[in-house]
Amino acid sequence: MRHMRSLNKKAARIEDYVASRTEDVVAMQDRPSSQQRPHVPMGCALMFTPGWEVDAAGGTAGLCQPVERDIYDCFVSCYWPAQVPDHLNNAPDWTAKCATATKDWRNLDLVFP
C-alpha cells in the first residue's frame, strides 16, 4: 500500500488483503513493491521481448515467465511452427487479446489442439 502504513496487527492483515487485490505480480520479486511500473521483469532479462529473454547467466533456466508467454516473439516475428502456436494455419488469433505485450501478456493462453 502506498498511502497507508499499518500500525497494529489487524491493520497488517488488511494490508495483506489489499495487496492481494490491488498489486500486480512483478517477476523476480518476493513482494510487490510500491513502484511497479513499467511492467518489465527486471532482473531476469535485459528487455521485454517474450521468447528471447535470457537470464543473468545467459541461459533460460532462470527466466520467470511461463513458457507459453516466452514464445510470443517466436509467433509474432519469427515463425517457428514446431514449438509455437501456428499462426498461419491453426492459431491465427493467439495474440488477438495481446495488443501490448508489456501490459497484456497474461492474455496469451495455452493452445489446446
Partner: protein, 483 residues
C-alpha cells in the same frame, strides 16, 4: 474485479475515526479495529467525499483537481476501497460470524469465600446494589468443590497450553488455607497434562503476613490490591464493620508485599467515588510513595442515586486528570520507560491487537466465575446470584442460560452501539454495570459513552505518537497475548 466494475461504482466514506498525533494523520478503521498512518492523498480523498457520495469518474476528477495524477488517483481509490476506508453504494457490511458452539475457557475466577472482613459501602457483593443472593449457601468454598473447579477448567479449556486461575472473594485471604491447597492440586494436574496454570488474586491486603507473601512470591501468584489512595481517601469508604478505616492496617502490609514479592508486578486497583476522585494524588501516592508497579482506576459501579456515585461533573474532572496522567505516560513511553498507569497500557494492548469485540469482555465465554457453592457465574461479579447462575461446577455449564446471556450481551443486539466508532473496544461495556444501571446485562452502558469515546481517542493518539516516535515500545503489547 474488472475495470468496468470499478468505474461504475459510487463511493461514500466508510466507517472510521480520524485522529492526529505528532503532526501525523491516522485512521482507526471501524469495525475492524485497524490503525493506519495515512498520507496527505488519503486526506484529500476523505475531503472529496465528506460532502457526500461521488461516482468513480467524478472522484478521479476531483482528486486530479487536488493535485494527483489520474493514475495515482485510480490507485488511491483502489487501495481505499479494498481497505473499506471508502465503500460503494449498495454494499452491505459483513455479517458477524456466529459464535462457535464450543469455546474453550481460558480463565476461571474462584470466589474462595463470600465473606469479607471489611464493609466497604460501595461493594457490589454486599452494598446497596448487590446482585448476590448468598442466603443459605456455603460461606467458604470446600476442597472438593475447589478440586472439581480445577478439573472443570482443565477439561473445558480445550487445547489451550496455558490457563489461568484468579482467586477472589469476599476477601480472598480469609480462605488462604484452601488457596494453598488449590495451587498445589492445580499445578499437579496441569503438570500431568503437560500444561501450565498461572495464578493471580485480588485482596484488600488486611490479612497479608510475611508467610503468605513468601508463598505468593514463590508460586508466582500475581497480586492486585484493592486500595483507594492515601489515608483520608482510602478510609472514606474502605472501612471495617465498626466504621474504622483500613489504611493503617494495610499500609505496612502493602509495603512488605511490594518489597518481598519479587516474581510478579504488584497492581493497585482504585475505585473512584464521589469523595475519592483526586486521581493524580491517588496515583502519586500508590505509585511513588508505596511503590506499586501498576495502578488502575475504575469509577464505582452503582445506580446513579447512591451518594457515592460520581456525577457527570465528577466524571469530567476524573477525565481531565486521566488526560494529565496520559500525557505523562506518553513522555515515559517515548523514553522507553514504564509509567504504571494501567488504564493506558491496558487500552494500548487492545489497540495493538486490533480487537473487534462481539462482547465487552470474556465473561461467560473464555472466563467464568465459580462461587463457594460451586455455582457457575458469568464472572466474579455475578457469583452467588441465582438469577445469573450458568450451571453448577459438578454438572457443567447450562448451555441454554449461557447462550441467552451471550446473545443479550452481543454487540449485534445493542442497537445504540451500531453507529459508535468506539464499539470495537467497548462493545457496550460491563455486563454487571449494565445490570445494576438498567436491569439488563445486555443493555449498553449509555451513561458513559462520551467518556469512553474521549478516552479511546486519547489512547489512540498515544498509540499513534508512540508508533511514530518509538515503535519498539509497542512490541511488549504485541507479545502480551501470545499464549
Amino acid at each position: 474485479m474488472t475495470g468496468t466494475e470499478a468505474t461504475t461504482r459510487v463511493y461514500r466514506l466508510g466507517e472510521f475515526h480520524r485522529f492526529e498525533a505528532e503532526g501525523a494523520n491516522f485512521l482507526y478503521l471501524v469495525p475492524a479495529g485497524a490503525i493506519f498512518a495515512v498520507d496527505t492523498a488519503v486526506r484529500k480523498l476523505i475531503d472529496c467525499l465528506t460532502p457526500g457520495e461521488l461516482p468513480h469518474d467524478r472522484l478521479v476528477d476531483d482528486l486530479a483537481a487536488a493535485g494527483l495524477s489520474i493514475e495515482d488517483a485510480e490507485e488511491l481509490i483502489a487501495e481505499m476501497f479494498h481497505s473499506n476506508v471508502i465503500v460503494a453504494r449498495g454494499s452491505t457490511p459483513d455479517q458477524p460470524t456466529p459464535l462457535p458452539d464450543v469455546f474453550p475457557i481460558q480463565t476461571l475466577v474462584m470466589n474462595l469465600t463470600n465473606q469479607c472482613n471489611l464493609s466497604c459501602q460501595y461493594c457490589y457483593e454486599f452494598g446497596a446494589d448487590k446482585v448476590a443472593t448468598p442466603e443459605g449457601k456455603p460461606k467458604f468454598m470446600d476442597l472438593e468443590t475447589a478440586k472439581t473447579s480445577v478439573d472443570f477448567l482443565l477439561a473445558q479449556s480445550g487445547d489451550r497450553r496455558s490457563v489461568h486461575i484468579t482467586f477472589f472473594g469476599g476477601e480472598t485471604l480469609m480462605n488462604f488455607p484452601l488457596l494453598k491447597q488449590v495451587v498445589a492440586y492445580a499445578n499437579e494436574r496441569a503438570q500431568e497434562q503437560g500444561r501450565h496454570i498461572d495464578f493471580s488474586l485480588t485482596t484488600n491486603a488486611t490479612l497479608l503476613t510475611p508467610a503468605i507473601i513468601e508463598f505468593l512470591s514463590e508460586n508466582h501468584i500475581g497480586v492486585t490490591v484493592s486500595m483507594d489512595g492515601p489515608k483520608e481517601m482510602h478510609d472514606h469508604l474502605r472501612v471495617f464493620s465498626n466504621g474504622r478505616g483500613s489504611y493503617d492496617i494495610i499500609e505496612p502490609r502493602v509495603r512488605a508485599l511490594i518489597q518481598n514479592h519479587r516474581t510478579r508486578p504488584i497492581t493497585a486497583r482504585v475505585t473512584l467515588t464521589a469523595g475519592v476522585s483526586d486521581v493524580i494524588r491517588i496515583f502519586r501516592h500508590l505509585k511513588q510513595d508505596l511503590g506499586f508497579h501498576e495502578v488502575g482506576f475504575a469509577p464505582v459501579t452503582t445506580s446513579p442515586n447512591q451518594l457515592y456515585a460520581i456525577g457527570n461533573q465528577g466524571m469530567d474532572n476524573v477525565l481531565d486528570q486521566f488526560h494529565a496522567l496520559a500525557d505523562e505516560y506518553l513522555e515515559h513511553a517515548l523514553r522507553g520507560e514504564s509509567h504504571g498507569f494501567s488504564n493506558v497500557s491496558d487500552t494500548l494492548a487492545e489497540l495493538c491487537q486490533g480487537v473487534n469485540k462481539s462482547h465487552p469482555c470474556g465473561a461467560g465465554l473464555g472466563l467464568l466465575g465459580v462461587g463457594p457453592s460451586g455455582d457457575i457465574a458469568p464472572c466474579h461479579r455475578f457469583v452467588d446470584s441465582d438469577q445469573h447462575a450458568l450451571g453448577h461446577i459438578s454438572t457443567g455449564i447450562d448451555k441454554a442460560k449461557q447462550s441467552d446471556f451471550l446473545r443479550r450481551g452481543h454487540i449485534d443486539s445493542k442497537y445504540d452501539c451500531h453507529t459508535c466508532w468506539a464499539r470495537p473496544l467497548c462493545a457496550g461495556g460491563c455486563h454487571h454495570e449494565a445490570f445494576v444501571r438498567y436491569g439488563d446485562t445486555g443493555h449498553p452502558n449509555l451513561h458513559y459513552c462520551d467518556w469512553i469515546r474521549d478516552w479511546t481517542d486519547t489512547c489512540l493518539k498515544i498509540y499513534g505518537a508512540i508508533a511514530a516516535k518509538n515503535p519498539g515500545f509497542l512490541q511488549q503489547f504485541a507479545e502480551r497475548k501470545a499464549s
